[in-house]
Point group: C2
Chain length 450, copies 2
């Protein structure tokens, strides 16, 4: 026997214990169902692509972080997001696709970031995007956050707020105040408002050489209260002064109105003129989503509107709007802060423990239960009775079922609820009803308590 290799997983690669994996999958599937309920198609692009495809746009930072290598004479890169593969896919298939093309993709992406707690090198992103051919109605910009709202609520997350802005409003404000040429610098500074406060931002802007009058006027608007109504009222004073601003304001108002029509509770979203996101990519609506109790986490779900999804691959104009949840990171936070609902971490509804050598009856019972939707495991190993119960307990299986000679003779089964120790002897059908009721109760529980 050769020497043993120490089994280990790469650092920065999440690998979960079985019961945590059940929770992760439940969260993933809830998002899939939500995305799908709005008419989005699933997409599954390869993890490897030609390097020139993935790096057609990428800048220095991205290039440093990527997993890139050669195999034979092919230059390969592992995808670092799901947007570039989408752009490739839509450009390749533009003639076959029906537009607007609505797709979701939940998949792993790879970034060789410095390893640190809560940072992952392999992580899931959960993306939705709507792509238009030539143009795309602004009301799609209202649908995207409405989907995220539904998804987060279904997960059991209630302590979140989706913040919405429109880049055109910002650009318009900069124009009006005569600082359009410094917009990138200003945005970068203003982005820190929440962190460093109004006064420090004012100071930084002064250092950048922005006139005090402009700074005061800008900060007056950008820092306007929590209420969307106040914000819109303030912005309306600018109407007619700048075409871009007018357009941005019209878009923003439309998005906010349609979100209400979608049934999004106004407590869950607000206008925030200080968010800008990926300066060179988004062109209109932008979104960020924060957990109110945990501002330190930053945005758990971001996105926005872009004019040209696939400009590096096609001259066809393909505008789009989308959002992306950093799922692995979100899961890590929920797990490490104890917001996961352990009651949802079970994969088996009942453990059938045969008490006879002959398995005809236990096996046919297991098949009967499964055919009605119960996840039933038959325990085959020779172990002490106590060990079998301990096994069920460790896996979080709520019920054990015993089939001894007496039960079989009477056409019954014994069912024990592990949490309470109660035991009943009932018919198969009665057992099924009990198990289904318990399953339904658990299915209705949220995976997250936050």
């Amino acid at each position: 026997m050769s020497e043993l290799v120490k089994p280990r997983t790469l650092s920065g690669f999440m690998e979960l214990q079985p019961r945590d994996q059940v929770l992760f999958d439940r969260i993933r599937m809830t998002l899939e169902e939500t995305y799908s309920s709005f008419g989005f198609f699933p997409l599954d692009t390869p993890i490897l692509e030609h390097s020139d495809i993935l790096l057609a746009k990428a800048g220095g930072e991205t290039e440093k972080q990527i997993y890139r290598f050669e195999k034979g004479d092919t230059d390969l890169t592992m995808r670092f997001d799901l947007t570039v593969p989408l752009a490739k896919y839509v450009a390749m298939n533009a003639n076959e696709l029906a537009f607007p093309f609505k797709r979701y993709q939940i998949g792993k992406v790879y970034r060789g970031e410095r390893a640190q707690k809560g940072r992952f090198r392999e992580f899931y992103q959960a993306d939705i995007d709507i792509i238009g051919d030539g143009k795309l109605d602004i009301r799609n910009d209202a649908e995207i956050p409405s989907i995220i709202y539904e998804g987060l609520k279904k997960l059991g997350i209630r302590d979140f707020q989706i913040r919405i802005n429109n880049r055109k409003v910002l650009n318009g404000l900069f124009s009006v105040h005569g600082v359009a040429d410094r917009s990138t610098d200003i945005l970068r500074t203003v982005d820190k408002l929440e962190k460093i406060g109004k006064e420090n931002v004012a100071e930084s802007l002064a250092e950048l050489g922005i006139p005090k009058a402009s700074t005061d006027a800008l900060l007056h608007v950008l820092c306007a209260g929590e209420s969307t109504e106040e914000m819109l009222a303030l912005l309306k004073e600018y109407q007619g002064k700048d075409e871009t601003l007018d357009q941005g304001l019209a878009e923003l108002s439309e998005v906010l109105r349609e979100m209400e029509n979608f049934g999004v509770d106004p407590a869950y979203f607000r206008t925030d003129l200080t968010i800008a996101r990926g300066l060179d990519y988004y062109t209109g609506t932008v979104y960020e989503t924060t957990i109110k109790k945990h501002p330190e986490i930053g945005s758990i779900c971001s996105g926005g509107r872009y004019d040209n999804l696939a400009e590096f691959y096609t001259s066809r104009k393909l505008p789009g709007v989308g959002m992306s949840i950093g799922l692995t990171r979100l899961f890590y936070i929920l797990q490490s802060q104890n917001y996961l609902n352990a009651e949802c971490a079970n994969a088996v509804d009942v453990l059938i423990i045969p008490m006879t050598k002959d398995l005809a009856e236990p096996l046919s019972t297991s098949t009967f239960l499964r055919s009605s939707g119960i996840r039933a495991q038959v325990y085959f190993e020779e172990k002490k009775f106590k060990q079998k119960i301990a096994y069920a307990d460790k896996l979080g299986i709520p019920w054990c079922m015993f089939l001894g000679e007496d039960e079989i003779k009477e056409g019954k089964v014994s069912l024990k609820k592990l949490a309470t120790g109660e035991q009943v002897t009932v018919t198969r059908e009665e057992a099924l009803s009990l198990l289904l009721a318990e399953k339904e109760r658990r299915n209705a529980l949220p995976a997250v308590l936050l």
Copy 2:
């Protein structure tokens, strides 16, 4: 604007059209549900691992085909199957896991095989395994093919047969006939029985120097008729002559008996003494699964019993049994041979087409439908009416719903079934019933017709 990069996908990497992706996902989810219904936990290991972990066992052929590269000073390999990562996982977590550990994993694996039609370099495997600590009851060997039987049937595949053998029976037969020292050569030859026929195999065995008497006796047993009863009767004549053979025969009989107890229709499985699978890995039960109409495809799902899952990582003895479906290849075959059910390739239940500028009513209707499980898309774009219907048609959306001023005034909606052109004006609730009935009908359809 810089030059365009031609959008393209790596050869050997499957990337599906949206409606085919819906079918693929449905098949994947059906397998997940089936695996899960037997009490298996999901597992999701990284796609990248330390090279020394993945290659602890690998031989020359595997090494040539792998995607291996360095990043920084780390030697990385993309997983080429799901078994080696499972071995690592179980060895790493052996103290925390409850045994038997039952897990399924459906994930992508990577092999740099020569590109050819129907061969993939990135492909899904859909694995189930049961791992014991020290020992594992033989009845688990009956459960594994029973799960595959349920899964394939649920997919709509009816034309399959699971073939079962036990390596101990073969080794015992070779012992009895005095050719145990040539077992590897003989197995390799016998494996071709179905392809090249009995006479050619006899000739090959003669060339290997196997005595004619041994060859005749062996082929007499190995080629015994289609019926499992005949086969077992023949094998029983050997009882008492060799301990390994006796043990193998007892195991095989037990597996066949419990499969019947699991409710597997005997038409779907049979003993086949000529299958051996991965000579150096499996130690007892082995399985192959063939599509009867398409023997040329070879096995779509294989596996077996092994004594030591993780011998390269731990001295702990971890026996197991499992099977694996080559999902991407199976899908490719079903797709290219037209066995996929196009009626299952829809992602949207209803397209809501607003006929008014105000969207309050259409949007609240869409939210109402979604909350009852209907996948509802609202069409926002400004297009001609005909183009909107064509859009629904292209996506395979069965119903369109119109909300004009008249409908809204009456508190009704108009619902048009695209297949027939029928249109009714009904209440929201009535529309929901119609849509749910159609959805239920489609959900009951098999994704595969074979």
